[in-house]
Amino acid sequence: DAGITQSPRHKVTETGTPVTLRCHQTENHRYMYWYRQDPGHGLRLIHYSYGVKDTDKGEVSDGYSVSRSKTEDFLLTLESATSSQTSVYFCAISETDYYGYTFGSGTRLTVV
């Protein structure tokens, strides 16, 4: 979607390696979110940010960390990837914490 990009789009990595996914926005929105989507679970929130250097945990944050040093970038890091973290990861942005979200196109991560 225009205004939000995720990179990479696809990644295969080995168990135990660190992985960083990037979300970049050009909308100057305050709020940014990382979700994972798995069959049967819908979307589950990993971490979110409500401003530069302001982040908080979601419902499935174990094994993940985030950083937001600039308004436009929100990084998701898997410190030591595990097979259970194989998933599709979506970034989303919003102007407020209760209005409609704009989603990126997703990153398909496979941990082998």
Binding site: G42, L43, A92, Y98, F103
Partner: protein, 109 residues
């Protein structure tokens, strides 16, 4: 845990028919939102209904909200093959948005 739960999990209809999907939620909300996801893509925001609204329209979409039953419905009228997608309801408790597992809609030409 998921805040919104969609029903049915899957729905298959013919082009031109109407499609109705339901969503139930657990806690009080200030609004409820519906999203569409085409295969392999991110979610797209369709419509938002506030807690003090009972019905809202957008093109071929009609959303209702019953806060006493903690439920919402999404009606797509005169469906098209291009409406084939998964549909999610979402509610914003506190600072994040909780999504259900979605309804997979298939519209056959």
């Amino acid at each position: 845990s998921q805040q919104g739960e969609e029903d049915p999990q899957a729905l298959s209809i013919q082009e031109g028919e109407n499609a109705t999907m339901n969503c139930s939620y657990k806690t009080s909300i200030n609004n409820l939102q519906w999203y569409r996801q085409n295969s392999g893509r991110g979610l797209v925001h369709l419509i938002l209904i506030r807690s003090n609204e009972r019905e809202k329209h957008s093109g071929r979409l009609r959303v209702t909200l019953d806060t006493s039953k903690k439920s919402s419905s999404l009606l797509i009228t005169a469906s098209r093959a291009a409406d084939t997608a998964s549909y999610f309801c979402a509610t914003p408790p506190d600072n994040d948005m909780r999504f259900g597992a979605g309804t997979r809609l298939t519209v056959k030409p």
